[in-house]
């Protein structure tokens, strides 16, 4: 193999598994260290710069970082990255003076943003400090998008939304709440320099089964019902509730029902329990609130009498897989299952809808009625119109909406400045040695052996009484510290300088996870078979040095390195060093440079 090019910013970025997996590339280990140091406001600001909604995401994020976390490969479970983010938000104190102030001068450009969800608010935050005149439209009367309208308050208290949305509105965008945009053409005609569409995926799928019309009084579309609950229009539900569907919406529907009078609530899904879209922790929480999840039941009919729903029938199926591994649900032939109920919540999917976008304004739609959007620049085929969040490629989640927002903001800025939107700005990278003394590092290199700590929950009886009472209490500072200590500091990189190495084997001998091998060179496939320990995970790089004095090379499998620094401590010549790698993924110029 050729010696590894560690100048390539992606090389070490990938080693920081969590940051690489985070759509907004939040510097996770950096904020976790700040939490350990008790610097909560600093930890908050590191988050805020990357993901804009630390308190919100610290409670609700889909956390793609956690399955990626290295800790999960060397121990049982990943670091509780998400809930540590909440710790930063909970204990930050007042950070308003660290927020970029509303600009005093305008740059003369006017941008319209459709929707006040996380995508559009991210664009607003990134562009506002540069003096753009931003006009945010939302049909709802309060900003936040689905964060506000869908996510139940027992998962995400209103004050948290108010605070984090407030940081952005304080930066001076013109908020036109309660104002739906009915024509994109009309908006473009108003002379905006650019338009950002962050209108989400607002339509819930229905289930057209016998009895649907007749019993409609007691059959509700999940996301519409949840927003009515959020805005206080609905405060009660029947005693017996069936929730159809296995995604996040279904989980929020069933748990909300338990708080509004439903004491016999069940979730019924077509697929198997394992294949449900909801995250494992969401299912766990639902089951913990005495909500059974029944699987492999396909809904057949809404049963009603005198215009009143009294139950539903289902067909029992099982999964069969064809030669290609594709699943088919095949009826088992059992008699139909019948369940009594007073209300049904239909949470079987969510769709985009763009009735307000004309089809003759140079904005192409594809065969699935979705706008054609460039995946890097988020520009549509009408160069003045940009998309992001659920509106761009269908329903995802908050952190993706934020990531889209950052990229769209870069594009909008470049577009307005007349530069090419395809010229993406490079990241800022710094590598700094952590050496303080012979065996002293400016990071805590000891490896905690603690298993993942659980976030304490409010007593169930109390929690179920009030839909606004937050279930998770968050880590207290002691638990937060202990959990933060589980982080392996994967951003403190092992840097090898081949000309200093005397091949004494000290690093090989000390490495607790057998990462390091000195051996003859070969191609990657061959090298991977000759290492101290198996290296099957091809997504995890081999770090290969140039030729050493004996003609061998050093090959390090990055996969399970604990970043403990022992190789560097035991190296007599300083050929190994531990250097902190900070990568600041580009945002629109000047965006939130406050530290």
């Amino acid at each position: 193999m050729q010696p590894t090019d560690i100048q390539d910013p992606d090389y070490f970025h990938k080693v920081v598994d969590c940051q690489w997996a985070c759509p907004a590339h939040t510097p996770v280990p950096e904020y976790i260290r700040l939490i350990s140091a008790g610097r909560y406001a600093d930890a908050f600001m590191v988050n805020w710069k990357s993901n804009v909604f630390p308190g919100i995401l610290g409670r609700t994020c889909d956390r793609p970082c956690e399955p990626a976390c290295r800790r999960g490969r060397v121990e049982e479970e990943p670091v509780a990255i998400c809930r540590l983010k909440r710790v930063a938000a909970d204990y930050k104190g007042d950070v308003s003076d660290r927020m970029p102030p509303a600009p005093t001068t305008r740059n003369g450009k006017k941008i319209a943003l459709v929707g006040a969800g996380p995508a559009a608010l991210t664009v607003a935050r990134d562009l506002a400090p540069m003096g753009y005149h931003l006009v945010v439209y939302d049909g709802d009367s309060r900003a936040g998008g689905m964060i506000r309208s869908q996510i139940p308050k027992f998962r995400l208290p209103e004050e948290v939304i108010d605070e984090e949305v407030g940081f952005i509105t304080a930066m001076g965008p013109e908020m036109r709440l309660g104002q739906r945009v009915d024509s994109l053409k009309g908006l473009l005609d108003e002379g905006y320099d650019a338009v950002f569409v962050g209108s989400g995926a607002p339509r819930g799928r229905d289930l057209d089964l016998p009895g649907r019309q007749e019993a409609s009084e007691n059959i509700h579309i999940g996301i519409d019902w949840l927003s009515s609950v959020s805005f206080g229009h609905i405060t009660k539900i029947g005693r017996r509730v069936i929730v159809l569907g296995g995604g996040n919406t279904a989980m929020d529907c069933c748990r909300s029902s338990r708080r509004l009078g439903g004491d016999d609530v069940k979730v019924i899904v077509r697929s198997g329990f394992e294949e449900m879209k909801a995250s494992p922790w969401e299912k766990e929480d639902a089951i913990g609130e005495d909500i059974p999840i029944l699987n492999f039941l396909v809904p057949k009919e809404f049963k009603h009498r005198d215009g009143k729903l009294y139950g539903m029938t289902f067909e029992k199926v099982h999964a069969e897989y064809d030669a290609k591994g594709r699943r088919r649900l095949v009826p088992t032939g059992e008699p139909e299952h019948f369940f009594e109920c007073d209300d049904v919540l239909v949470a079987v999917g969510q769709e985009n809808a763009f009735p307000w976008i004309e089809r003759d304004i140079g904005l192409e739609f594809n065969e699935w009625a979705m706008p054609v959007v460039n995946e890097t620049t988020f520009q549509s085929t009408n160069p003045r119109v940009f998309f992001g969040g659920d509106a761009a490629f269908g329903p995802k989640n908050i952190i993706w909406a934020v990531a889209h927002g950052h990229q769209a903001a870069i594009s909008i800025h470049q577009f307005c400045q007349g530069t090419d939107v395809n010229d993406r700005p490079p990241p800022m990278v710094t590598l700094a040695s952590q050496k303080m003394g012979i065996h002293e590092w400016s990071y805590d290199n000891g490896v905690s052996l603690d298993l993942r700590f659980k976030v304490p929950h409010r007593d169930k009886v109390i929690a179920l009484k009030d839909i606004k009472s937050e279930v998770e209490l968050g880590f207290d500072l002691k638990l937060a510290f202990a959990e933060a200590q589980r982080c392996l500091n994967c951003d403190v990189q092992t840097i090898f300088t081949d000309k200093l190495c005397i091949e004494c084997d000290a690093c090989v001998d000390i490495c607790p996870v057998d990462c390091i091998t000195f051996t003859g060179n070969g191609d990657e496939a061959d090298l991977r078979t000759r290492l101290m320990a198996p290296a099957h995970d091809l997504d995890q790089a081999l770090y290969v040095s140039g030729e050493l004095k004996t003609g061998r090379i050093m090959a390090k499998d990055e996969d399970v390195c604990l970043h403990c620094g022992l190789c560097a401590e035991r190296c007599p010549t300083g050929a190994w060093d531990m250097e902190r790698f900070l990568i600041d993924v580009a945002q629109a110029e000047n965006a939130c440079c406050s530290k």
Binding site: R73, V74, E75, H439, N445, G446, V447, L449, I502, E503, C504, D505, A506, V508, D509, I510, P512, V513, D514, A533, P534, K549, T550, V560, L562, C564, L566, E569, R570, C571, P572, T573
Partner: protein
Amino acid sequence: MTFIAKPKLHHPELHKNSLGYTRRDYEGAISTLCAGCGHDSISAAIVRACFELDLPPHRIAKLSGIGCSSKTPTYFLGASHGFNSVHGRMPSVLTGANLANRDLIYLGVSGDGDSASIGLGQFAHSMRRGVNMVYIVENNGVYGLTKGQFSATSDKGAKSKRGVVNSDEAIDLVGMALQLGATFVARSFSGDKAQLVPLIEAALKHEGAAFIDCLSPCVAFNNHEGSTKSFDYIREHNAAVNFLDVIRSREEITVDYAPGSVELVTQHDGSTLRLRKLHTTYDMHDRVSALTYMQERQAAGEIVTGLLYVDPNPRDLHGHLHTSDTPLNALMDDALVPGSSVLAHVNARLR
């Protein structure tokens, strides 16, 4: 010195041996030696050898004298018996322990100062008595622990770190071990585990006095230009006579090398040593020619490494002395207090 403990976390696919232990279970406390010290590599080689041979840690006794090398037993086999004796006295303590309990596996760890200076007599007698043990000298040519004075194995003409030239003749412990009747004699290098680990394994399987002179650079005091025990010097002058694999009895033995280039040696315990010979005329069963060869090569400036001599059917001290087959601590009262008639018999024989 490293202040943190080596993390217990290990590679998710770390193997277990037939006893259910991983290699990590054979480690000891984290080393306090200088970073890069050759001795640490020897410790790692011992850990590997014991793991690979499925040795039960609680059946091993590690004994040492004084010196950086003699400190190392703390850094491996944390679950084994250990005895850190006084300077140069490891061989006697080991001999005594062995006489008392012949069932343990004895591993003596010493330095060139510990064995070739203050302990030379002790070293010599343990070899000539044929104590069943592995005796490893971690040879760096200096007294590392006392800051780098020349030791008795330092070559004449070698330069100290301060530039002083050694004027004394070097003691060759391999030559002495051969002359004194050790039944397994090897030399190796801390920086070459491919050679060292099988040698330690073979020595552990050997049922007699097994001696390994292991060159082990002292990075603090003897790894400079002009030293003959530095990493660079040893690598440049290393002349291996063979490479060894240890084959456990249950494994199949296949020989797929050119004729004459491989030799199989079956040891007394049933294990087989497979030697890939780099030097086809070298005969490792002949003490005299081994000695001659070594002296020739040494004169030519080479450092001969590998398995230099082995007697596959050794006799050990217990054999010579006709001692009890049972360790003393397992002898029951009836054996220890045989009664007055036996005493009368013994007394009668002495009259």
